[in-house]
């Protein structure tokens, strides 16, 4: 009984505390964020932000903010279709790998969102331009939402985004369990390239989401932070095997299309489970890989719903 009260009191206290933090955050007080490249103090609500990786740009839009500077997108250059409307007149500061520091400085931002894997070397200069926060890897979309929510004083919206995501994941799992007779277990995500086929692993953006949805995705063996295997020989086909295949829509490039034909017309292809059960789907590379943000993740989930004939 005492234990129970104790627990209750603690909960109340925590609630109170978080309420207080919320009010503190809402005001112009300085808060310190701990991130992948150190601690950064931010005062007030930043309004001019520069996002240096795709996931951060996507998340800014999700939080209802238009950045003053963004980097070029990987596909559908210079901006992904689904973000074009919101980012119509935003300055581009170059490539994600080497953004133009002078341009960033000239935009006079009050917050920069970076990623350690890309921007560790220029972090000192970035911090001199404006307070800069950084996540470890570009495809950690939940970290991005959380960090940006705190940094931008939009904690409530950030929590909403993440809660909404958690609910959707739960709903999907529920629907899948009730509607499918044999719940698919293993999933492979493939990308046909001019001279090889890429098998995305658990640590990739889409791989981590599929894992969260309850599927088993191929895992990396050995080296850390490896997020895809490059397969060149059609003999390797058995190592793709899974109950469901998701394949990135092919580009117009005739060589890629030929590689696709070579692989799919190969007799070994017919022996794969997903092919035999006709569970091969084409998906949109932007949502499934290149966007790397919470909006992209939701678009991806929409497509997963759709492929299993479920309603989101």
């Amino acid at each position: 009984m005492t234990l129970h009260t104790h627990w209750l009191t603690r909960l109340t206290l925590t609630c109170l505390c978080s309420l207080i933090t919320c009010t503190v955050l809402a005001s112009d007080h300085t808060r310190t964020l701990t991130h992948a490249l150190g601690n950064t103090s931010i005062t007030g609500t930043p309004t001019r932000i520069v996002t240096l990786y795709q996931g951060a740009t996507d998340t800014a839009v999700a939080l209802g903010i238009t950045p003053v500077g963004v980097v070029d997108s990987w596909l559908e250059q210079p901006t992904y279709q689904f973000l074009r409307e919101q980012l119509a007149n935003v300055t581009h500061v170059g490539l994600e790998t080497q953004p133009n520091l002078e341009l960033i400085a000239s935009l006079q931002p009050d917050l920069i969102i970076a990623a350690k894997m890309r921007h560790e070397k220029i972090y000192p200069q970035l911090s001199q331009i404006a307070p800069t926060i950084s996540i470890d890897y570009v495809f950690q979309f939940k970290d991005t939402v959380q960090q940006m929510g705190t940094a931008l004083n939009r904690q409530t919206q950030a929590d909403e985004l993440l809660n909404h995501w958690t609910q959707r994941v739960a709903d999907f799992q529920q629907q899948l369990k009730t509607t499918q007779r044999n719940t698919p277990n293993t999933v492979s995500l493939l990308d046909f390239r001019p001279d090889h086929v890429r098998l995305y692993l658990q640590d990739s953006f889409a791989g981590s989401i599929l894992t969260e949805l309850g599927f088993t995705v191929a895992r990396n063996q050995g080296s850390h932070n490896q997020w895809a295997l490059k397969l060149t020989s059609r003999e390797s086909m058995p190592s793709l095997n899974a109950d469901v295949f998701f394949i990135f829509k092919l580009t117009d490039d005739p060589v890629t299309q030929r590689v696709y034909q070579q692989w799919t017309q190969h007799p070994l292809w017919q022996t794969l489970t997903a092919v035999q059960q006709q569970q091969v789907f084409f998906v949109d590379e932007v949502a499934w890989s290149a966007s790397g943000g919470v909006l992209g993740a939701n678009k991806m989930l929409d497509q997963v719903y759709q492929h299993f004939g479920l309603t989101p």
Binding site: T97, Q98, E102, A105, N225, K230
Partner: protein
Amino acid sequence: MPKFYTVRHAALSLQLNLKTLSVLALLLPCVLACVLLALSAGSQWLSPLTVLNELVADGRYAFVLETLRLPRIVMAFMVGAALAVSGLMLQSLIRNPLASPDIIGITGGASAAAVFFLSFLAGSLSVYWLPVAAIIGALLTALIIYGLAWQGGVSPVRLVLIGIGLAAGMNAITTLMIVLSPIATSMTAYVWLTGSVYGTNWQDVSRLLPWLLVLLPWAMSLARSIDAQALGDATAINLGIALQRDRLLVLFISVGLAGAAVAFAGAVSFVGLIAPHIARLLVDRRFASLAPVSALIGGTLVVLADTLGRTVFLPLDMPAGVFVAAVGAPFFIYLLYRHQQ
């Protein structure tokens, strides 16, 4: 009027003739003009006058000029100068105008070490250790080359042949590591392999500077021996040169210069090959004359290449190495053509 001016000071004994001095006097303003141009150019063009003003009294462009452009330009210049002198020393040592640090495997060794770092250690170690890895790679490669070329003494021919062989091996190892590494790092590795001074800060500059401050004067102090070595082994020994000892020294100073430069800027190629050739067009064939002129030309070459790299494709920032090759290669071909005439 004396033809030569001799500077004698303990270990340092240099002979500079009037022509060299006048070439240097003409070259210096040109170099400064290039640096000023490089400071003016960028995402926003600032007039040279504004630049000078801002450098004296800090104004609204102080950050862009002093934190973003200047360290990068200084770094580019130092890298170019170091590679040029390194190339010049190797060309004298090997007695062949086609030798340079990238061709005999020094750059290859640094690259293999750097790509190894980027692929397998970058997650756990800070990126500031990258130059250390690259320098270790360069020195290790030089040691291996020297060791393999040793047969009761080291001959230049053996040195260069073994260097080229090892360079090919190092390139294979680099390719192997890029293939094995996570896909995300292969782009970073490629930018490094092309050579770029992107994102240089004053701390980087202050870490490269000591290398040059020690090695360049040291190289100058060996000027007489380097000239003697270029005349052939027998002549050098007759002139009282401790041939094997000096050869080792020259090799390691040149490796130190190239390794340090490459460590901070990546595998910039061609500077070490071309800058000494341009210098030979301007001054006489003695090391004491060629070294300062090569250094100025090499430095300017990289500064100009980097300026092109960060302005031509705005807002994209291209690695300087691309433009060094683009400017250097046609010139190299012109040199060959001239040779043939």
